[in-house]
């Protein structure tokens, strides 16, 4: 790994100037927990590395015009422990609290995760769930906001152009709604999602309304789950509903597998190939059990 130029702007203005020097061979350093590994293992020699670590505008979590604004350089750990996030967007706090290891969460950032666009990333499913926006800054100093759903194009690919950078993510504040995020991996901690599931809902008594759900890590992009509301809306959720939803997600995952041109190389045995469509039932049950728990929204137990 060698890099011809390293730029570390201290202000937004310097950042804009720096962006103008970026080419398609340049890289952006936003925590480095994915980038450094990638540079080493692929023997990449970028022409320029732009570090975002010193720009104040990229940090801070605040309320603004009905939105929760989270700077791109906020670390997973900061987000997971932020009281505003925990109150307003619990699913995001839950997702951030299980990204990588504690060491990774201390360095890794939400902007970095989004830019890396891993299929197994935990940030994007939550952003899609909340109908969040991704704010992008370009080398002319202009910003634009795009729908989270449109941000990722595929595995490792986003709509970001070489001279663009993520400024912040914006999540609409909906205090009357609750949410949760849960992932299934090989371990409790330091694990990559096999499947992730995020829900948000409104509660009245034992019933739920306007339920939304997003399924992550099973396709190149998170999947918005239309059927969640159809199955769960205004019902007292029991085994029948859980199984119905699990079955529906299982079918979705199977269809994705059957449509894939190339099967994942680590899934050699047949039982490994069909694992996700079988195991999704467990995560559906887990998520719905969290939903049914009458939790205090300020609860710290995530």
């Amino acid at each position: 790994m060698a890099c011809e130029q390293y730029i570390q702007p201290d202000t937004l203005k310097e950042l804009v100037t720096g962006l103008a020097k970026m080419t398609s061979d340049s890289v952006i350093l936003a925590g480095g927990t994915d980038l450094i590994i990638k540079l080493r293992s692929r023997h990449m020699n970028p022409d320029c590395m732009l570090s975002l670590c010193r720009v104040p505008e990229l940090k801070s979590i605040s309320e603004s015009g009905g939105y929760l604004r989270i700077g791109a350089m906020e670390t997973h750990d900061n987000i997971a422990n932020n009281t505003l996030v925990r109150k307003e967007c619990k699913a995001l706090a839950m997702a951030c609290s299980h990204v990588g290891s504690q060491q990774v969460r201390n360095k890794g950032t939400i902007g970095g995760s989004l830019g890396n666009a891993s299929v197994a990333g935990d940030m994007l499913p939550v952003l899609v769930l909340f109908h969040g926006l991704v704010e992008i800054l370009d080398s002319a100093g202009k910003t634009r906001k795009v729908d989270a759903q449109e941000f990722t194009l595929g595995i490792g690919r986003t709509i970001l152009q070489p001279q663009e950078v993520i400024m912040a993510v914006w999540l609409p504040l909906q205090s009357h709604r609750e949410s949760c995020f849960i992932k299934l991996g090989g371990r409790r901690e330091v694990t990559i999602a096999e499947i992730s599931l995020a829900f948000s809902w409104e509660r009245s008594g034992q019933h739920f309304h306007k339920i939304e759900g997003v399924l992550g890590a099973v396709d190149t992009k998170p999947i918005y789950l239309q059927e969640v509301d159809e199955i769960l809306e205004d019902r007292k959720v029991g085994k029948y509903e859980m199984d119905l939803l699990a079955d529906s997600l299982s079918k979705r995952i199977r269809a994705i597998r059957e449509n894939r041109k190339r099967q994942p190389r680590l899934r050699i045995q047949e039982c490994e190939k069909v694992y996700k469509e079988r195991a999704v039932k467990g995560i559906v049950y887990d998520a719905l059990e969290i939903m049914m728990r009458k939790t205090d929204k300020k609860s710290k137990n995530i």
Binding site: G186, E189, E272, Y275
Partner: protein, 756 residues
């Protein structure tokens, strides 16, 4: 039984811990010198083929490149990576060269670059172009055993061995049982990867090699012979080692780095990356076993027959010996009247498999114990009862070697273990919970095993130590220790401290160095504390005897009246006149004209078995296939724990590794290309602290007569019983008969589906 010791049996943390925790401990890879050169290897890009052309022109243009080595410019000479001593020349077949034109697995080294920096060497490696003529593959053992299979070596692909005792075939029995087991490949996961530094001194024409090896003498023999140098011109030093689990006991990089250092007359260092460690060191063998037994209706074992097929990978290396050892362990736990063992070690076009902690015990135990659990179930017997009926008793001779198993305490392990674990209560509680047929199912499982404490009777169990009192009364002990990071240095210091009553920080005890230490085989067979500990103890006792003679002269009394307490010599009735080691040394040297030192060699002609049992309880999620270990207990018959904390640490590490073997870890091989599909830890999710159970441990401390302070080995046996116990617990929970490791969530969900 409890004796009033100052150091032995006291829970003290490892004295090397300060350096490790603060990161200041110096490992081989931390070593730097002015002008040091660095090495990198280029990995081959075919799974089987002949090199037809190597183009290094672009590589030579990288600044800082000093040398490039390939099969074309290195000796056509073979070496044995499994060497333990000079006399053991036929331990492993000599199949390896520094570089070979014939590439036998994907990733095998095809060239090495030596440069002024690691980065330069790496860049140059990337610029070397290699062309190959591809050869047909033999990825599976089945394919490699076909008559028309491509032959990897002139000696063929298959090594075969046969052992028997009694007449298994002739046993008339109504009940015959058959099971199968598959074990997957694992990586050792030592924190430190392979690293060797070799420095050639032009003035002395001598080579000094630093390597975190398990045998400095084995390394020296291999290097000196390969380079055709006298032993007097090769010195091997063992620096701190960051874990082995078997991967530091073979000569992976020593011959190569030594050759290069001598060739360039330079100081050269080579450190493996994690990827290289996984692909180019060695992995734990994958194997398939078929087990058959004859057991009478009362549950008495009449005989066992085992057929094992072990994947050696591209080179046989130590596999033939490993294979024989699996067979050799069949008679060490139960009374066996008839044993039949047939094994094959098969070369395939895949990465090399080799030495792993317990050297066959974890494999033999998995094969046999999962079988006995199955048999007990068929007989309607409790697995603990089945074992109580069949285990060996104190002093029994194990039939395959005719050696006594010593005071091995299987019965205590089974009885005390099942009581402490509440085996019966837990078993009943699991069955009750499972009646609900809920999402989670519960099960308990157990296994029994044994392990060696020395090489005897395969080799004479010799060990030597020297000790000398220094002018200030502090102590230097010379004993060729190869500490893996598990605290054997500390154990030796505690033994010396106990005898000579010297504080631990007043003892210098360096690790193995061929130039200023007595000979030793190295750290194998869980022998260090038992064998070398005994040498240290005897040496210190003799030194104390000498010191007492001096003190007697100094105090003017008979030497057999000298008492020694809290580091002071005195005699009755003059209790006020006391001499410490410093004063005795001074008198000895300056008045009597004799230095105070001792050297002694011991020969522990014994190999008391250590027994181990593991009990575990699992909770299986039938929706996701995840297995949670709710509680587990390991019981070990250690004789005496020199350091109970370190014993408990070893037990925990055995449990962690055993869980990996049973449920999680597998270096997957592409069934078509033979490539290792996992080369880092991203997709190799080992058991980490968050999922690790809060394990219980029980040490049965009945002193072993021949061990220092009664101690036996603990380092390897801790792994052996874990996997079969866990597999049984999962099978109990689900009503399955799974024996294909690892039991990953997909495998478990598949089995649940089949049961339904």
């Amino acid at each position: 039984m409890e004796k009033d010791y100052h150091y032995i049996g006291k829970a003290l943390s490892n004295d090397g811990v300060y350096g490790k925790v603060t990161g200041s401990a110096e490992y081989c890879s931390d070593m730097e010198s002015v002008g040091m050169l660095h090495m990198k290897c280029k990995a081959g890009e075919v799974s089987h083929g002949m090199i037809t052309r190597i183009d290094s022109e672009e590589a030579w243009k990288v600044p800082g490149v000093r040398a490039i080595y390939t099969w074309e410019n290195t000796p056509n000479r073979y070496f044995d990576r499994g060497r333990v001593s000079l006399t053991e020349a036929d331990n492993a077949p000599n199949q390896e060269r520094l570089f070979d034109r014939h590439i036998r697995f994907y990733g095998e080294r095809v060239a090495a670059v030596v440069a002024e920096s690691v980065e330069d060497a790496e860049e140059a490696c990337n610029k070397i172009k290699v062309e190959y003529e591809e050869l047909p593959l033999a990825v599976s053992m089945e394919a490699a055993m076909q008559p028309d299979a491509p032959q990897l070596h002139t000696s063929g692909n298959v090594y075969e061995t046969q052992t028997s005792y009694g007449d298994y075939g002739g046993v008339q029995s109504e009940c015959k049982y058959q099971t199968r087991v598959h074990i997957g490949r694992m990586t050792h996961l030592s924190m430190e990867t392979q690293c060797v530094r070799a420095c050639y001194s032009k003035s002395e024409r001598k080579l000094t090699v630093w390597t975190g090896t398990q045998t400095v003498y084995g390394a020296r023999a291999t290097i000196a012979e390969f380079l055709d140098m006298p032993f007097s011109k090769v010195r091997v030093i063992k620096p701190l080692m960051g874990g082995s689990f078997g991967c530091k006991q073979e000569m992976i990089l020593e011959p190569l780095v030594s050759y290069v250092a001598k060739d360039l007359q330079a100081d050269v260092k080579f450190v493996y990356t994690r990827e290289e460690q996984i692909v180019n060191a060695m992995l734990k063998h994958s194997l398939d076993g078929q087990i058959e037994s004859k057991v009478d209706r009362e549950g008495t074992i009449q005989g066992i027959s085992l057929d094992v097929c072990m994947d050696s990978g591209a080179y046989q290396t130590i596999s033939p010996s490993y294979l024989r050892t699996i067979g050799g362990k069949l008679g060490k736990v139960y009374k066996m009247k008839n044993i039949n063992y047939h094994g094959r070690a098969v070369c395939t076009t895949t990465p090399v498999n080799g030495s792993f902690r317990s050297w066959g015990s974890s494999e033999a135990t998995m094969l046999v114990e999962s079988h006995w659990n199955y048999v007990a179930k068929q007989l309607g017997m409790d697995p603990v009862e089945f074992r109580l009926k069949n285990h060996l008793q104190y002093g029994d001779r194990e039939v395959l070697h005719g050696a006594s198993v010593g005071e091995v305490r299987f019965e205590e392990c089974l009885r005390q273990g099942s009581e402490r674990f509440q085996w019966q209560e837990r078993k009943a509680a699991c069955a009750k919970k499972n009646q609900k047929k809920g999402r989670y199912r519960y099960g308990v499982g157990m296994a029994l095993c044994s392990h060696t404490t020395s090489f005897y009777p395969y080799q004479t169990e010799v060990a030597s130590a020297a000790a000398r009192i220094q002018d200030d009364g502090s102590l230097v002990v010379h004993v060729p220790i190869h500490d893996h990071g598990c605290g054997t240095v500390m154990a030796m210091k505690k033994i010396a401290a106990e005898i000579l009553q010297v504080k631990l920080d007043r003892i210098t005890l360096n690790e193995a160095d061929t130039e200023n230490m007595p000979y030793d085989y190295g750290c194998y067979a869980s022998r260090t504390v038992y064998t070398l500990g005994r040498a240290v103890k005897e040496c210190c006792e003799k030194l104390l005897g000498k010191a007492k003679m001096v003190a007697a002269a100094q105090l003017g009394c008979a030497d057999n009246t000298i008492l020694y307490e809290n580091g002071e010599f005195f005699s009755e009735p003059n209790l006020d006149r006391r001499l410490n080691l410093h004063e005795v040394w001074k008198y000895s040297v300056f008045t009597m004209g004799k230095d105070l030192y001792e050297m002694c060699t011991t020969n522990a002609n014994g190999n008391p078995g250590t027994a181990g049992a593991h009990f575990t309880q699992v909770k299986v999620d039938t929706y996701t296939g995840a297995v949670e270990i709710e509680h587990c207990l390991s019981v070990h018959d250690v004789g005496r724990a020199i350091n109970p904390d370190m014993c408990r640490g070893q037990i925990g590490s055995g449990i962690q590794q055993g869980i990996g073997m049973a449920l999680r870890e597998e270096i997957k091989i592409d069934p078509i290309t033979g490539r290792a599909l996992i080369t880092n830890f991203k997709n190799y999710e080992v058991m980490n602290a968050a999922d690790m159970p809060d394990y219980d441990s029980l040490l049965i401390e009945e002193e072993e007569e021949t061990g220092p302070f009664g101690a036996k080995g603990i380092g390897e046996i801790v792994l052996a019983p874990i996997a079969p116990a866990l597999v049984e617990a999962v099978n109990q929970a689900l009503g399955t008969e799974l024996t294909t490791l690892p039991l990953t969530p997909p495998v478990i969900l598949e089995a649940i589906k089949e049961v339904e």
